[in-house]
Point group: C2
Chain length 128, copies 2
Amino acid sequence: MTAEEKARIQQEVDEGSCEFMHIHEEIVDKVEKVMPDEQQLLDLSEFFKVFGDSTRIKILYVLSQSEMCVCDIATLLQMGQSAISHQLRVLKQMRLVTFRRDGKTVFYKLADSHIQTILAQGMEHISE
Amino acid sequence: MTAEEKARIQQEVDEGSCEFMHIHEEIVDKVEKVMPDEQQLLDLSEFFKVFGDSTRIKILYVLSQSEMCVCDIATLLQMGQSAISHQLRVLKQMRLVTFRRDGKTVFYKLADSHIQTILAQGMEHISE
DNA sequence: TATTCATATGAACAAATATTCATATGAATA
DNA sequence: TATTCATATGAATATTTGTTCATATGAATA
């Protein structure tokens, strides 16, 4: 057992989480080696967080059917323009939607095909 | 314009969201016809909500590498056993993980291949 | 260039949620 | 069957997050 491992185990004991003997070292060591950056997993959860709100899911769904403007979305969802606009900002920041301007109107659409794939996989999962 | 449409538009005006003229009726009507149940979209957002937390994403990630017990996960994530256990319950309820018992130990693993697909698509998206 | 109007934004409030601490549960085994 | 120990759970707290209201912005056009 390396010094690093000892330190790790001591930390667990300090935290009161797990005792020594029943940790499966082979598994822990193996997986530890392939863990992505903390930051990458954080980004990943931030990305999925965007899908985890019913308003945003509805927006993504309607945009999967057709490009449309803020007011079309507000109408379909029966919600206020401001709420939609706030959520569109979140979707833009996470690059889930893009937009084009046409006169005074801004048309939004899904950014890329990953979004469709993820929505479809989610639909499959909950339909099982 | 049908009575139903008029009612809808009146509602928007009441809500102060959108004025009358700039709604694109063809789009709204077309998409309205294919909207899934409110409940289905709600379930979908609840499903994705589970991916939207860094602790749960880390759990899903480590389980994508190997089946393992609660304490292995707590060790890898450097978190308390209780926190992991609470999150595993969420993951179980949403059928993202399953488990088997072996003596006093409970081994968890990912429930099905959708989970892997969704994780992979998410990784691709944030890596672009 | 003054006005209009679709969209965006800031602040405030309400609601949801993750972690910790303390403790319960319940399967294995002494 | 009494004990052990991995895991689960309830309550409390702190933080995050979504919506509303009021207002700003800024592109089109009169």
